[in-house]
Assembly symmetry: C2
Homo-oligomer: 245 residues x 2
DNA sequence: CGGCGTATTGAACCAGGTCAACGTGCGTGG
DNA sequence: CCACGCACGTTGACCTGGTTCAATACGCCG
């Protein structure tokens, strides 16, 4: 079934903390937030649904209220790279509105999700009326730039184990901690992890199996197969640091 | 000798096309440009001078009026990655003003250069008075994000020759074309090229030697040792495409 | 002209990719 | 509710691009 757009039944009824969680609108007064909310389109999207494709004309600024989205690029030869996993409260697909107007990547849900979005015209109006949004945008994109630069450094200087460890730690920062460990926020296959850390699913599988044996993490039960829980972030951090256990 | 700061002797006397070339201030009216100019600090910097270091507190928005700057990161183990080479008219070192206020990289001139910069306070004032600057900033940083994402994809999916070819083509886009070929805008050692394309200077040297033998480019004479001229961009583009010649 | 940073080139090694074959748990449909 | 099928995961054996180590040559600057 195709996902359907809808305004929230009542603007004020929609959880305001969803918006407060969006860094893009940080620091706006309640009145402005209400305005932002009123202009938004919200839709529920089942998992494994494409939200946009590489090369499509960019028409919206997207964000996620719940669920998870994989943003990935495919090169000419068909090889995939995962650029980023988007969790609740994160923005995505917004940069091309300000550059070449073409989505540079694919986006697809990896879990049942609720997406919120604004058309480009709406976003520009909002920015005009509330210039703070533009500065927030610079902050968000700037942080993302720095993160990708970090990954570029890792991938050219480090070994696979380091990158895999760091990828897990980055995901853990957005996961939920409990006594049993930190559960990652969305399901990730070995292939996902491989594409995130720049390796093959074979190597990723071997490495994860080794770490699971050491008790650093566990995958699978008691949730779906692709649910990963970290038990020893310190060990992973050490691995990410010096690449030697 | 330490580089010295100076206001241009006369604001209006300073070449206005320098500013017009800065995408950051694109679309501003002449009066606004004059304002920007009046607030700028300009200094001449000899080659091989550090402009800032990784980890330093970020205090300025920088741009280059002439010359060249290498922006690079060093990891814990001391390995270097070149994030970007900055040419005339390009902005750099501005992102951390909006994120964590710490330069994430080193910047050092690779040729005698003229730098123009604004303090953070000045930049914020300018943005407040001319909101278009904030949107230009989003565009510039967004484009850079997309470029780094491209490099990340290349480095994880492609072979060394492809990355080297692409690095050269990217640099050529900012070089000067003539009958003899396209001369790159600043001197680049084999090590620079290696750090740009994520390989070792040994492999870079071997590859460049092979390409020089095929007539795709030439290096060294008649300029300094590290001056590179491309003669067959089509061949390099083919190499960048499919990685097989 | 002497010395040092840069470049070239050869040889050996190895991390990780590739190819191949086999498990296994999840979801679906009967 | 159970059984079947398939997508996902695991594991082993082999292969190779590119790094590493090492040694020599070049060219620029003082």
């Amino acid at each position: 079934m195709p996902p359907t757009d809808a305004r929230p039944a009542s603007n004020t009824a929609w959880p305001p903390q969803s918006l407060a969680g969006l860094e893009l609108f940080r620091g706006l007064e309640p009145a402005a937030l209400a305005e932002v909310m009123a202009a938004a389109l919200v839709r529920a999207v089942p998992r494994h649904t494409p939200l946009f494709h590489q090369g499509d004309p960019a028409q919206h600024c997207h964000a996620l209220l719940s669920g998870g989205v994989r943003v990935s690029q495919t090169n000419a030869a068909g090889a995939q790279v995962a650029l980023r996993f988007i969790g609740a409260g994160e923005m995505f697909g917004t940069v091309p509105l300000f550059t070449d107007r073409l989505y540079p990547a694919d986006a697809e849900t990896v879990a049942d999700s609720v997406e919120i979005r604004w058309t480009e015209a709406t976003l520009r109006q909002l920015i005009t009326r509330h210039p703070a949004i533009a500065l927030n945008l610079v902050t968000v994109i700037g942080r993302r730039l720095m993160e990708v630069q970090d990954r570029l450094r890792e991938v050219t200087t480090g070994r696979v184990e380091q990158r895999l460890a760091r990828a897990l730690l980055r995901l853990a920062a957005r996961g939920t901690a409990s006594a049993a460990g930190t559960a990652l926020a969305f399901p990730l296959t070995r292939k996902d992890l491989a594409e995130l850390s720049g390796t093959t699913l074979h190597t990723a599988s071997r490495t994860l199996a080794a770490w699971e044996k050491r008790g650093w993490l566990s995958s699978g039960r008691p949730n779906g197969r692709a649910r990963i829980t970290l038990h020893d972030q310190a060990a992973l951090a050490a691995m990410a640091e010096d690449g030697r256990e």
